[in-house]
Structures are given as C-alpha cells and as structure tokens.
Point group: C2
Chain length 96, copies 2
C-alpha cells in the first residue's frame, strides 16, 4: 500500500517539477524583455529596491511549509539567474 502511495506522490512531484521548470523559464523570458527595455532606456538592470519589494511581496504571501528565509533564499537564486540572463543578452548586443 505505501509503496503505491509513494509512487503516486513521486509522479505528482515529477509533474510539479516540470510546472516549476516552465514557470522558471517563463520568468526568464519576462526578465529578458524587461532587460531589453531597460537597455533601450539606458537604466541599470540590477535594481536592489525593486528586488527587495519583490521579496517582501513574496514573503507576505508565504503560507509554508517553507520558512520565509528559505523562500527568500530560493528566490534570490532565481533572481540571480535572471540577472545573468540579462547580462548575457547585453554582452551579445555589444558583440553585434
């Protein structure tokens, strides 16, 4: 019985993993678009105030089971990856 339950939970986990992957990439596309507009405007891609606002907004909606500190840590990693994506774009733009 509990092996069957385990298999079911694992297959749900696999689905959630792919949904997370899609959302992470969707976020990447949005961040790239934002980077391109900021590039045109000549404004800095990294905006610590906006990042803090996003983290506060996220934490205020956190109902667990993860602690706010864990959620903030994970989102900081996601934000960093997004910034690197914008920087890659910027480098490619300079090389054209």
């Amino acid at each position: 019985m509990s092996n069957q339950q385990l298999d079911q939970l694992r297959s749900q986990l696999d689905e959630v993993n792919l949904e997370l992957l899609n959302l992470i990439n969707k976020r990447g596309d949005l961040v790239k678009e934002i980077g391109q507009i900021k590039e045109q405007q000549g404004t800095n891609r990294f905006d610590p105030v906006r990042e803090r606002t996003m983290l506060d907004h996220i934490s205020s909606h956190n109902d667990g089971p993860f602690e706010d500190s864990t959620v903030v840590h994970l989102f900081k990693e996601i934000f960093k990856a997004g910034l690197e994506l914008q920087e890659d774009d910027h480098r490619k733009a300079l090389l054209v």
Copy 2:
C-alpha cells in the same frame, strides 16, 4: 510607452513570482508526505539516484531561455530545501 510596457511586464513578473511560490510550497508538502512514508518504511530520505533521475528528466524538458546548468543549479537548491524540511519533521518526530 515603454514605461507602461515595463509596468505591465513587472506586474506579470509579480504574478509569476506568486505562482512559483505556490508551486515551491506545493512541492514542499509533497516532499514532506514522501518523507513521512519513508520514515515509516525506515528508508533513507536522501536518495541520490532518484535526485539524478529527476534532474535528467527536468533537463530533458528544458527549452530555455535558461541553460540546463542553471536549471540544474536552481533545482538542486529546491531539492536541498525539501530535504531540510524532511529533516525538520524527523527531528520533531524524535522529540515527541
């Protein structure tokens, strides 16, 4: 025009952030359930083979814009947070 576009993209980003938060927490709940079953079975919570299989499965579905290496890095952080959640549960179980 592009300021309005920026505001729109940012509001989309805020939505994606909250969707990500929900999925991360949904994943946390699943991982806790899996941990409880494994606890009953007396099997080890950390399963490097299963983790590798999940990472391969995720990478094989990755269409970007993030590189596989970035996706793997982010999911390793998410897995680590999940494992810590299971360990917290285990410690609480021991204290009861």
